[in-house]
């Protein structure tokens, strides 16, 4: 009799607990994809990202603990364009999760349909530095591309959970509407600086610059991924003086010393910004990420 009671309580107990409902478990490579996936998925998803916004997304280590996260994922979302080439395969293979393998419904490259820049039209090789053969991967920094990312995520989530298609599409509409509203604000803030030249540390800003009418005139890295050399910095300083370039834009995870040196020599202002959600504590989601970049830039131009 005792055993029957015990068994029944266990069964009923688990029965109660299991009514929690199943959410789609999403793992993303970057924190920006995490933020957008959270907007689209709402309370139908749980989302985690491999990268933190304050680290260089090219160099995420394929730690075994990431393989455990990937093991549990229903959907693995990547930026693509070989941004994740250093760790993606190791993590997917190590996870032993067949759902998220390349080509499966649980693997989503959100670059599909994005408006891409710097697609090489000539032969490329490693002498050109860290050049991506399918285009510059930093496309999430154009808010219009964020709509494409959101659209791709909404579509894939609808395939994974057709019953929730209305919900995801409604969230997509809300996201797009907010992008349009915020874009008007951002454009207005940067409008006074339309056409102005800026210097950047790494070749990660063409999408942002194109969208907001800024002209990237020079890079502190002699080639993408190659650290600034004294000879190259001398040329940059000369160019900035000649062309009256007054702002240097760089990410939080690069060494400030070369940029500060150039700023001192040219009288330019240094705008150190996040390029991903979480890069600074202000950049809590995609919208506040662009807010933070726009604010810092506007401030640097105005000083």
């Amino acid at each position: 009799m005792k055993k029957i009671f015990f068994a029944l309580t266990l069964i009923l107990g688990f029965g109660l607990l299991s009514y929690a409902g199943d959410k789609i478990n999403i793992l993303t490579s970057t924190s920006d994809l995490k933020s957008i996936a959270e907007f689209i998925g709402g309370d139908k998803v749980t989302v985690d990202s491999l990268g933190k916004g304050y680290q260089d997304p090219h160099f995420i280590d394929a730690k075994p603990s990431f393989m455990i996260k990937a093991k549990k994922a229903d959907l693995f979302i990547v930026v693509g364009l070989e941004l994740e080439i250093g760790y993606e395969e190791l993590i997917i293979d190590g996870s032993r999760n067949p759902k998220i393998r390349f080509g499966q419904i649980g693997y989503l490259d959100v670059s599909n349909g994005a408006s891409l820049l710097e697609i090489p039209t000539t032969k490329i090789d490693r002498s050109m530095g860290d050049v991506h053969p399918m285009g510059n991967p930093h496309y999430w920094l154009d808010p219009m591309n964020a709509k494409v990312i959101a659209f791709n995520i909404a579509n894939r989530l609808s395939e994974l959970s057709p019953d929730d298609e209305f919900y995801f599409k409604e969230n997509l509409n809300k996201f797009n509407k907010k992008i349009d509203e915020k874009f008007a604000e951002w454009a207005e803030k940067l409008n006074p600086f339309n056409g102005k030249k800026i210097a950047v540390y790494h070749r990660s800003w063409p999408y942002f610059a194109d969208r907001f009418g800024l002209d990237i005139a020079c890079e502190l890295e002699p080639k993408p991924g190659i650290p600034p050399s004294p000879g190259h910095l001398k040329d940059v300083i000369q160019k900035m003086r000649d062309e009256n370039i007054k702002v240097i834009l760089m990410e939080v995870f690069y060494d400030e010393k070369p940029a500060r040196f150039v700023a001192e020599q040219t009288g330019a202002k240094l705008a150190i910004v996040p390029n991903s959600v979480g890069g600074t504590k202000e950049a809590k989601d995609y919208f506040s990420l662009i807010d933070a970049i726009v604010e810092k830039l506007a401030e640097a131009f105005s000083l």
Binding site: K2, F5, T9, A62, R96, V252, D255
Partner: protein, 422 residues
């Protein structure tokens, strides 16, 4: 105890009743929801009709524009969407890479065959790709000097079965480096030093233990959600240092348990335990060798400064019990010997790091002979694909002359080469 069960039973039954009561309340909520859904459906159909009409208008516009300037659009479309011409099946070619390793070796040990010589130590040729939807294959060939000649050998060549009926299980068959400890699996170009630790070369030979065999690894589920991987392997017992060499007619069995914990987002520890056992002669077990190993690695990399700073503390210890019953010269029934290394590497700038390593190692056939060695060095990463390294090593031997050695190493790679494990 009976009262406790009754209490629990009543508690859960009441819970279910409240839940059932909620269910009744939910029924009217469900009706409300159904009405909402109907309304949403109507709204969606309106929206759909609206968008369809807009799309039709846009399509008409585009058709109009295309008539106006067909040449420009068709060239643009050709540039954007036309696939590359050529032999399409070459898209399925594997990733091919070649990694060259060059050293200058200076030493005061005059009988060293590498006494003050340049050496092209190795060219590693690697081919990697998915075989089909179930497996991937990796093959690594080494081109190495053999006196004045050059030889090519298969360092590793194996197929990894990625999808097996048991979740969390992977297997591989082929020739591969045994999953014993940590350094045995490392390729020359991925070492943080110029040379392999004495523990490895004394017990497993110049490049470690690598034989044809089978391997299965399983991610062990655990309540802490840590990475715990159990690997079981069987391979030929042809390793000539600890097992039977070419006389071997049996198998070595190897077990390795790898535990990986994130301490926080910056630091992690890997703790591994290994065991290997097999006959060390042409027989089937009268003379056995048993080997036990423990590996402990600590890694630190602050995420924000991760391009510029990191630290690795890597240690391994190995114990060997080798039977030599029947070998009258050595005169003992079992030789117990051991070896250890401890290494620290610190990256202090984007492309620069320094390291120090301590080695102590006996030999599998002798617990009386041993090496003590101390190495220091510096590595310059010219880029992700090429590094230069300077290493100084002092070795004290009680069976032969001590030596001081210095190396300048240059390691360079072409082509896509998947990073080896973290």
């Amino acid at each position: 105890m009976k009262k406790v069960y009754i209490f629990l039973f009543v508690f859960f039954v009441l819970g279910r009743c409240v839940f059932a009561g909620d269910m009744q309340k939910n029924n009217s909520d469900i009706d409300d929801l159904k009405n909402e859904i109907e309304q949403l459906k109507l709204q969606f159909q309106e929206m759909k009709a609206n968008y369809e009409s807009k799309i039709n208008q846009l399509e008409t516009k585009i058709a109009g524009l295309q008539e106006a300037s067909p040449k420009i659009e068709s060239t643009q479309i050709a540039q954007v969407s036309k696939p590359a011409e050529g032999r399409f099946f070459q898209n399925f070619n594997p990733d091919i890479s070649v990694i060259g390793d060059f050293t200058f070796h200076g030493t005061d040990k005059k009988d060293d065959e590498q006494y003050n010589q340049f050496k092209m130590r190795q060219a590693e040729l690697a081919f990697s790709a998915p075989v089909d939807s179930y497996a991937r294959a990796d093959l690594f060939m080494h081109i190495e000097p053999d006196g004045e000649e050059w030889g090519i050998g298969l360092c590793e060549g194996y197929i990894t079965l990625l999808e097996l009926p048991v979740p969390g299980l992977q297997a591989k068959v082929g020739k591969f480096k045994a999953n014993f400890g940590k350094v045995n699996r490392m390729h020359l170009h991925s070492l943080p030093w110029v040379d392999y630790p004495n523990m490895l070369t004394n017990f497993f030979g110049e490049e470690g233990m690598s034989q044809p065999g089978i391997s299965a690894s399983y991610l062990v589920p655990n309540p802490w959600d840590n990475y715990i991987e159990l690997t079981l392997e069987a391979m030929n017992n042809h390793n000539s240092s600890v097992f039977a060499g070419s006389e071997g007619r049996d198998l070595v069995y190897i077990a390795h348990l790898k535990n990986f914990f994130d301490i926080n987002e910056e630091s992690a520890i890997e703790l591994g335990g290994s065991f290997a056992t097999g006959p060390n002669d042409d027989g089937h077990g009268k003379n056995r060798t048993n080997i036990e190993g423990i590996d402990l690695t600590y890694k630190w990399k602050p995420l924000k400064e991760g391009l510029y700073k990191s630290f690795v503390f890597q240690n391994e210890i190995l114990f060997c019990q080798k039977d030599n019953v029947g070998d009258e010269e050595l005169g003992v029934k079992q030789i117990d010997s051991w070896g250890v290394y401890s290494s620290a590497q610190y990256q202090f700038a984007k492309r620069w790091s320094v390291f120090g390593r301590y080695d102590f190692s006996e030999f599998p056939d002798s617990a009386n002979n041993c090496d003590y060695a101390y190495s220091v060095g510096m590595t310059f990463n010219q880029s992700e694909y090429c590094f230069w390294r300077l290493q100084f090593k002092r070795t004290d031997r009680n069976y032969s002359k001590d030596s001081n050695e210095i190396w300048l190493q240059c390691n360079f790679g072409l082509g896509p080469h998947r990073k080896h494990e973290f």
